[in-house]
């Protein structure tokens, strides 16, 4: 958010002031993100309350192994991001670039897995608004459709955040490659780290709420 040419933008007096401003600004942005996803979680909770059985059965059509794998990818990418920030803080350019690349790698893996999941659901006619067909008990159809809609909407919004994050990551990587950052000024790296961890945070809630509701059902419990 700050000026890329000189560490201190014209309207700030000190770099410390600028840095704190950016931190608070980023956190406020994350606060809006919390409420943005929070509204969806509220909708999820309401419909789960209204359609407990449909949600459970529909959720058993999820592949929790894929979801679990993705959880691991995101956690690993978060850890590498932490190391990227601390490399930047210590002025280790090589470490910064390496850890950023690792973060990007695991983030991309996440999206690849997500892509296969989505394709799988598409072939199973699970996509509301596109090809949704419910072959289970008819009284669960409405709830299941809403479950799948929320699944696609929430994970889709999350994946959108991942895509934006990867775009930012490329920019951070390039600027780091060009040597823009130093132990005095590595604010963008840190801010990007906050964003990346937040995306991880959202997934930590999405995973159990979307993938694991039906995990205790007998195998194929709700399947056609």
């Amino acid at each position: 958010m700050s000026n890329a040419h000189s560490p201190v933008a014209h309207h700030f007096y000190t770099i410390e002031q600028q840095k704190e401003s950016a931190t608070i600004g980023m956190w406020l942005f994350l606060a809006t993100e919390i409420l943005l996803f929070g509204a969806l979680f509220t909708a999820y909770a309401v419909y789960r309350y209204k359609f407990p059985d449909a949600f459970m059965v529909a959720s058993s059509r999820m592949d929790w192994k894929m979801g679990g794998l993705n959880t691991l990818f995101l956690i690993i990418s978060s850890v590498t991001m932490v190391f990227a920030v601390s490399s930047a803080e210590k002025g280790r350019r090589g470490g910064l670039l390496g850890f950023l690349a690792a973060t990007g790698f695991f983030g991309t893996l996440f999206l690849v897995v997500k892509y296969f999941e989505y394709m799988h659901h598409y072939h199973d006619h699970d996509v509301p608004g596109l090809n949704f067909q419910w072959t289970g008990a008819p009284e669960l159809a409405n709830g299941a459709q809403i479950f799948f809609f929320l699944y696609f909407f929430m994970t889709g919004l999350h994946a959108l955040h991942m895509v934006v994050g990867l775009g930012l990551l490329i920019w951070i990587f390039l600027t780091a490659y060009w040597g823009k950052y130093s132990p005095e000024y590595y604010n963008p790296v840190e801010m990007f780290g906050l964003y990346w961890h937040f995306v991880d945070l959202v997934w930590i809630f999405l995973f159990p709420l979307l993938y694991l509701l039906g995990a205790h059902l007998p195998p194929g419990g709700g399947h056609h």
Binding site: T14, I24, L30, A31, S86, L194, I204, F205, P208, L209
Partner: protein
């Protein structure tokens, strides 16, 4: 001139505060281990039938994992009161959204829901 804590203009004194970003590699890996264990625990508990407790357990683990990320990875443990206020405030208002919405749903009389499909409802079937 009179200053207060949050105002930093021209204050090199701010350099004194703990180097608030670098959590040590050990801490970081410990947190990582905890997160992985948490994930495994989530899957494990979900595979058991705990009745009404499946979701609370899953949520408790998720909240634990999220807290670790916020405190360590996002440095909130080492940050200033203002950052903490923002974090706590946003979750507070999220709870408001949840809580007051459910103050409606949880206290409704459920008997008035129409379970059947539209056309089978006798009241709607005119003629």
């Amino acid at each position: 001139m009179a200053h207060e804590t949050t105002h930093s203009t021209g204050h090199p004194a701010n350099g004194h505060e703990p180097a608030h970003h670098s959590i040590s590699a050990t801490t970081c890996l410990l947190v990582f281990a905890a997160l992985v264990i948490g994930t495994v625990a989530t899957v494990w508990t979900a595979s058991m039938d705990l009745g009404a407790f499946n979701t609370p357990v899953a949520l408790a683990i998720a909240i634990g994992k999220a807290t670790l990320i916020i405190l360590y990875f996002m440095h909130v443990l080492y940050s200033k009161w203002l950052t903490r206020t923002v974090v706590i405030g946003s979750f507070f208002f999220l709870i408001v959204l949840f809580g007051l919405t459910f103050s409606d749903y949880l206290t409704r009389e459920k008997t008035r829901e129409i379970p059947a499909l539209y056309s089978s409802d006798p009241l709607l079937k005119q003629q």
